[in-house]
């Protein structure tokens, strides 16, 4: 069965998270993504790879997750012949995707203005931390920089925290990768109808900010610069994280409607709450949220988090618990849906990776392992670029490719 993105060839000059993730999603739905990398200039996400205490570029869990299903073409961009062969590849590609600092592709002669001269129909997505142009247009940034820069870390915490810490995870990156897929496919659709390629300039900081849009309106409309509020919200009460039996075990409960409230009272056998007229609507519950939270804690503290969820859900109360990866591995619900998939890799071995959350009724994503560095160099040279075996041998000996 054919996959929806079959026939699209992507020259992947990205590294790290945003562009690899964009490319992976496209590759898992049929695009031929050719990642250009080399030992001379490896994706920094390969660097944490270790084997027996030694650096091993093929054993980085982050890389091996972000680059599933793509082909690795080793070409040395610091050699003239390596560069020239990459230009040939770009010539026969539909998409260029990159997230280097702004001047890097220019130095390779592979920026949009250069590429459109020899491939006028190219759809070119360039995503850097701060977007092109402006005083920070050529600044360096990784995902962990952008969450603090755009205000996410400042807001993500408890009001009495010693300092703003935020989270170890980088959702702005993940939003940007997907918004990038949407834009690339929209541009390809436009190109298929008109023959016109184009340049997409995506700022990762803005992509992250775009998931906090309504919070920004608090500032631009109401003149109020939002402060961290921990687990307190105005659309639900009681609402939050409650300690459970065990070490570092927590459940979550969110009472958004008056019906949820009645159900919670029944689940906890709190006839007194159910009869309390002050508590029948959200405003009344918001006014007394501290008291309600204390009472709920007294109830959850002696229960396992899974138990709280089972009890409350049987009364149709929105609830769950703070899962960790061991919970995920044991989770029968996730298992039944393929939330994680097991992949074998020649160096990393058998490991569990998150699945692709895009589940279609007809088309299934192809989830294949990440490539070894340069694994597909020969195939790409021969099948995509039509280079003869003797020439491949010559270029390999020069370490222009295959290294």
């Amino acid at each position: 069965m054919s996959l929806p993105l079959e026939g699209i060839r992507v020259a992947h000059l990205g590294q790290g998270a945003v562009i690899p993730e964009l490319c992976r999603v496209m590759a898992e739905f049929g695009a031929d993504v050719i990642k250009i990398e080399s030992q001379v200039y490896p994706d920094f996400m390969r660097r944490p790879g270790r084997l027996d205490g030694e650096l091993n570029l093929n054993n980085s869990p982050g890389y091996n997750e972000a680059n599933r299903n793509v082909r690795s073409f080793a070409a040395n961009l610091r050699s003239e012949e390596g560069l020239s062969i990459v230009r040939d590849l770009v010539k026969v590609s539909d998409v260029v995707a990159e997230n280097n600092r702004a001047y890097v592709t220019r130095s390779w002669g592979l920026d949009y203005d250069s590429v459109k001269e020899f491939n006028s129909k190219i759809v070119y997505i360039s995503s850097n931390g701060f977007g092109h142009g402006g005083p920070a247009g050529e600044f360096a940034a990784f995902g962990p920089n952008l969450a603090p820069y755009l205000g996410l870390v400042y807001l993500w915490g408890h009001p009495n925290d010693e300092y703003p810490m935020g989270a170890t995870i980088n959702h702005p990156d993940h939003i940007a990768g997907k918004v990038g897929v949407m834009a690339v496919l929209a541009a390809l659709d436009h190109r298929n109808r008109t023959g016109e390629g184009q340049f997409i300039d995506m700022s990762q900081a803005e992509a992250g900010a775009s998931m906090l849009g309504e919070r920004f309106l608090e500032y631009t409309i109401n003149g109020n610069d939002p402060k961290p509020r921990g687990n307190e919200v105005d659309y639900a009460a009681p609402h939050g994280v409650y300690p459970c039996k065990g070490d570092d075990r927590w459940c979550v409960i969110s009472i958004m409607t008056d019906q949820h409230w009645v159900s919670l009272c029944e689940a906890m056998s709190r006839e007194d709450w159910k009869k309390d007229v002050e508590l029948i609507n959200l405003n009344g519950r918001l006014n007394r949220r501290d008291e309600l939270n204390q009472e709920i804690t007294k109830w959850t503290i002696d229960l396992e988090p899974e138990q709280v969820m089972e009890i409350l859900q049987s009364y149709r109360v929105p609830s769950g618990y703070v899962q960790n990866s061991q919970d995920h591995i044991a989770d029968v619900h996730l298992k039944s849906r393929g939330g994680y998939v097991e992949l074998d890799h020649p160096v990393a071995g058998l490991k569990l990776y998150p699945g692709n959350p895009i589940r279609f009724s007809r088309t299934k994503a192809i989830i294949g392992r990440a490539p070894l560095i340069g694994e597909h160099t020969y195939d790409v040279c021969r099948d995509v670029l039509g280079i003869s075996d003797s020439e491949i041998e010559r270029l390999t000996e020069l370490k222009s490719i295959g290294y």
């Binding site: 999603v25 906090l212 849009g213 409309i221 569990l352």
Partner: protein, 399 residues
């Protein structure tokens, strides 16, 4: 000047809630004709506080004012048979149908995927739910904080000795919404003009799990939970530091960033011992390194460190509030916030699409729809429902 955007030929019926509205917003920014289909009383997301001017009002919710820009809006009670007929007539004209109801709800109204497919075989239906359309928790209740907790993301936020902290927005839901938007584009592209549709099943828990990158595999393999600022793997390379007027984040990933950090600190004698050049050594001695850094950083300002560090190629950024981000020179110079006029709220600065396309420029075509704003255009002009029938539907509360 308003422009059409690359997706202007596509129509999306948007019956989503917090789990989908950000995805349809991106598609609307890309030019799709996104039509919000709301209950005649208004969608519940219109009442998410706070409100413009802090005045609770169906048109003033900041959440609504952000997430429904560039969308049109109609009202329709899909629990009435007339409403179901009209919805099916709309489905005939649409490419995509997005919904976030509990699994089984639309089937009970004869509006499930198989029913819609009969009306329009090309329709792409995206169903975004807390738990997905299958599995033992399919019919469980959900909430933004529940999806975030179940995704594993909350164990990785904040100080380890405190209670886990949720994000300041519905982040797992937003992840679900962008995965839905991405899936919709993949299906649209694959379908072409004549192909068959698809049914897309997105679970917010699974979408949230995708946000654990790059820690998922280390966590499932070794059970390690990367904590916050004191997490040793960061080896003092990825920390938040207190400076004179706030905080900065340094994220050095590669050897040249270490060189830049040494230069920024400007005290070569501190790192004369070559052992510091070994990343593993730095990781093991992260606490010592942090103390050395603190001493240097505490006397300098965020802006000074940002500019001086970046001049050396070091990924260093100030830790800003939302307001500081709005006012920062880069944000201003890219016109990320653009003026938008709303009939009731007036003109305000709106965070626009996070990307620029030079061939098919994007623009803010309209502010969030007033309740039922486009009923006339869509029902009378486009569907050709005559005035008598419209009045009849109005009096019955269908629209």
């Amino acid at each position: 000047m308003t422009t059409k955007g690359p997706l202007s030929r596509y129509r999306i019926l948007d019956l989503s809630d917090m789990k989908g509205d950000l995805g349809t917003l991106y598609l609307a920014h890309l030019g799709a004709d996104v039509i919000r289909v709301e209950h005649p009383h208004g969608h519940s997301t219109r009442w998410i506080p706070p409100f413009a001017g802090n005045i609770p009002h169906v048109e003033r919710g900041l959440y609504h004012l952000y997430r429904n820009v560039n969308k049109r809006g109609i009202t329709l009670d899909i629990e009435t048979s007339e409403g179901q007929d009209i919805l099916k007539r709309l489905v005939k004209t649409a490419d995509v149908f997005v919904e976030c109801f509990q699994p089984g709800y639309l089937e009970s109204l004869k509006l499930g995927y198989s029913d819609l497919k009969e009306v329009n075989s090309k329709i792409i239906m995206a169903s975004i739910t807390d738990w997905g359309q299958s599995g033992p928790r399919r019919d469980f209740e959900g909430a933004p904080i529940v999806a975030m907790a179940m995704s594993g993301a909350m164990q990785m936020a904040g100080f380890s000795e405190k209670e886990p902290c949720d994000a300041p927005n519905a982040m797992a839901y937003d992840m679900a919404a962008v995965y839905a938007g991405t899936g919709i584009m993949i299906a649209l592209y694959g379908r072409g003009d004549d192909g068959e549709g698809e049914w897309l099943d997105i679970s917010a828990q699974e979408a949230g799990i995708a946000g654990l990158f790059p820690w998922s595999v280390p966590m499932t393999t070794y059970g390690t939970v990367p904590g916050g600022n004191d997490f040793p793997v960061r080896g003092a390379l990825m920390l938040i530091y207190k400076c004179k007027d706030g905080y900065v984040k340094i994220a050095g990933n590669v050897p040249r960033h270490w060189e830049a950090q040494k230069e920024l600190i400007g005290k070569p004698e501190m790192f004369e011992d070559k052992v510091w050049d070994d990343q593993l050594f730095r990781r093991e001695n992260a606490d010592t390194l942090k103390i050395m850094y603190d001493e240097f950083i505490q006397d300098r300002t965020m802006q000074d460190l940002f500019i001086a560090g970046q001049a050396l190629g070091l990924p260093i950024t100030p830790l800003q509030s939302l307001g500081s981000f709005v006012e920062s020179p880069q944000t201003k110079s890219r016109n990320f916030f653009q003026p938008l006029n709303h009939q009731i709220v007036g003109e305000y600065e709106y965070p626009s699409a996070p990307l620029k396309m030079n061939g098919t420029p994007l623009s803010l075509r309209k502010s969030a729809p007033l309740l039922g704003e486009d009923n006339n255009d869509i029902y009378s002009v486009e569907l050709g429902i005559d005035a008598d029938e419209l009045n009849n539907l109005r009096s019955k509360g269908v629209i």
